[in-house]
């Protein structure tokens, strides 16, 4: 965490320094919270908004060289990818916390039939049930519950009070955040004699490599077969994935998104917050769904859908704009009706007149 001069920061990220290079920078900070001893960065969005900052050093792109205006006294470091550079510098000032050294705590509850790989860390109060298999370098935090027969890959982190029901399948480098629940029974019942009778759910959930599951997110087990979350997919907090859903690779769902049962998605699908998707719907590869949208049926590959019911963004926008005018349209209609009536009665007069015209 030693201080770096702006010259040293420029060298660290291979950036082009504009300024003395002698200022000493002791930490990173957000654009608006920064002091002269801080490094910050300017991304596209911020650059548009007449940004101001007291930071002593700023990473920014060539095209935003002048975005901070003439009276900025910061040393500028020009780099094609300011955020990437900033993350690199941040890791100099704030090294990621060293991996824990606790090892397997004697007050963790681990079944004798469970197997753990090399260099795992299991905290007090974590529970690992019968016949669980865990890979190398996994970290299981306090209160986490891993049900019987779960199989977990290498380098997985399971945070405090997260719950894996029995027989879940988890790939490598997966992060499961606090209180997330993987594998509760799907919401499937038969209606018999006036009552809902649970359909036994004997399926599972398969989470592929490099997935991140947010805090409070729930992923239900399949009735039979698997509910699948594809490799590299990131789920924010409080997301709900229903039974038998099959998500593709590298999806990104913002918080409070809800998928009903048997939804399928392609790869690189993005959903904004609070999106709802009806059962058996399909979100095509590369499509994106705007926040709060409600999807039925199919979103084609690469399309951008918005609204409720969701439709192509452009069309939805046109409709929303027109709807804003609905009260005005009603007025226009009333005026037109009056005018047309007038015209009709005046024409009627003329007709009467015609009849008495000798020329007729």
């Amino acid at each position: 965490m030693t201080a770096l001069s702006t010259r040293e920061l420029a060298d660290l990220v291979g950036g082009d320094l504009q300024g003395q290079g002698t200022r000493l920078i002791v930490d990173v900070a957000a654009l608006n919270g920064a002091c002269p001893e801080h490094l910050t960065f300017l991304d596209g969005a911020a650059a548009e908004g007449k940004p101001r900052t007291n930071a002593g050093a700023v990473f920014l792109a060539e095209k935003h060289r002048n975005a901070l205006g003439p009276d900025s006294t910061a040393d500028l470091i020009i780099t094609p990818a300011p955020l990437d550079a900033f993350v690199k510098a941040m890791l100099h000032y704030r090294p990621v916390a060293a991996t824990p050294t606790i090892g397997i705590s004697p007050s963790a509850r681990i079944s004798p039939t469970a197997t753990l790989g090399q260099d795992c860390h299991v905290f007090p109060g974590a529970t690992i049930d019968e016949h669980v298999e865990i890979g190398d370098r996994c970290v299981i935090h306090p209160g986490a519950f891993i049900g019987a027969g779960c199989r977990i890959g290498d380098d997985v982190t399971i945070h405090a009070n997260a719950v894996l029901y029995p027989k879940m399948l988890v790939g490598r480098r997966v992060i499961i955040h606090a209180t997330a629940v993987i594998g509760a029974d799907g919401f499937g019942f038969q209606f018999q004699n006036g009552q809902f009778v649970r359909i036994p759910h004997t399926g599972t959930v398969r989470i592929e490599d490099d997935v991140e599951v947010g805090a409070g997110t729930t992923i239900d087990r399949a009735m039979i077969g698997e509910t699948v979350v594809g490799a590299g997919t990131k789920l924010d907090n409080q997301v709900m994935i229903g039974h038998n859903c099959r998500l593709g690779k590298h999806n990104a769902f913002a918080s409070q998104v809800g998928l009903a049962g048997s939804v399928t998605t392609g790869d690189y699908v993005r959903c904004g917050g609070q999106v709802g998707v009806a059962d058996h719907a399909h979100l095509g590869t590369g499509c994106s769904v705007g926040g709060k949208a409600g999807v039925h049926g199919i979103v084609p590959d690469g399309e951008d859908y918005h609204g409720y019911p969701a439709g192509p963004a452009k069309e939805t926008y046109r409709i929303a704009m027109a709807v804003q005018k609905a009260p005005e349209m009603r007025k226009q209609l009333r005026v037109l009706e009056k005018q047309v009536q007038e015209l009709q009665s005046r024409l009627a007069e003329l007709d009467v007149l015609r009849v008495h015209t000798p020329a007729a």
Copy 2:
């Protein structure tokens, strides 16, 4: 888990076999994931969609006898209720996990003043606080917390890390899934001297028999009296039930439904995902509310409501269709206004003309 011939499967469910009956079936599978050694089933929805399957045996209804097309090689087993039959067969291949044999774990935290019935199973790390009364054959999983004075009936299962605040009332055969929270203080405050001051919530929650509460679902305690979840009602994951709500019997709410305070419902009410219900609203017996709908006031018995604000489905649909045309309507209005102006000016000419007509 012995293999069964398709003949034996037909006999097991009293179905009508169409095929050799000699194939050996080793497991159940979903329609699209099945291999020739698997049994699957065809329900109404799937039957419409030109279904294909590699399954060796298929349960289906008489009217779908030909749904799989000519080139299907599966043995068909005709039965009036394919799903019921399938569940029966599934339980042959995948018997429900035997009830646990752990008994009362010495490393569960159970108050000496708590009482448990016969044949209960309490896992390590579960907490049962003072004066709790628990019935027979209950299963309490690791990390579950049962607050002081809770009263719980027979055959209840409480999953890992679920939380019952003090004094909750839980009926028989209730299932509470992981991380569900029963009995947090309702969101009630008095605004005094510029601050929100909590209104003490001294009421409770009463969960009747055969209720299922999903993972991450929260049910708040009443200010006074009870928040009630009626017998047989099923709540999916991440559902929110506010203080003083009174749900009837056999309701079914999909995930992320939210009820504000003092909402009442009749029996057999169904809500789709992400439905929101304003405080003091009433959902009538047998009504259903479509996904993402927003309800104020009253939904009459038996009605099907959709949209936001929610209205009768048919009407909401008609409006939604018309709204799609709003941009076109604006165009039509502009055209009409122009046409009417033309007509007005042409009539004006005619009037002028009239004045000079001798006949006039």
Copy 3:
């Protein structure tokens, strides 16, 4: 919990008794659930709705003196603030549970490097990690996890299975309900070589004094700097506060509200249930946002916004009313088009006629 006469109740709250004053009241109850031995109260909302009650005593405002109708036999106690009076009486009948006497449980997991103030109560199965600092009179319930380096003020209550990630800052008199999660990594990734790569989140969450965080609510840590929840702000259950949000003082958010990243709010902001707010939006001081609304950009100070997209309540209401008429408007348009065509053809005839009129 001794019984009080209605006379004694009137004296207790300084109210004006209308009735004998001799009835004995043994407990409080809700308006519709009350028996003759119960006290209840009538607030504005209930008073409008032809209220009925069997309560023996009712607190109500002067202007509602006759709201219960002639055949009510209750003793009435007139008081300017019926709810305040009711809460006062409720605390006589139902004293708030005495603070626990457990002290620091030996089976809580407390790091030797953690420091706790006077008169704290830490329950079995709670985890307090390294270098945590906790103030006086705090209560930490079973299964709660407090990560390394958290700093917590006086008189804080943390309920069962709540999770504080490392380095969180919590003020005084804060209540964190069961399974709430403070400080999970914000949903921030860089898209590199076809994959989402996590942006390290080295910031924290700062919760100011007198905040209440609902069950299942999640508040993400900032990438750098702080996610802030201002003093006196109350968050209901299942609320999501994204990374880098900065909430002002005395906000009140109903359940299932979701804020994306970097949202800012003024003071005294109210949000109804299931409101969604897009990233970088601002909710102005004293504004309110109606349930289910979707906010982009800025809600001005003191404004009341509704709908999706959210706009001023009055305007949104006018538009919603007009939209209800959309099908009718389409009909009107068709009629008008037909009428205008008729007019056009009849005028055409007249023109033809004109040509043959000698006078022309």
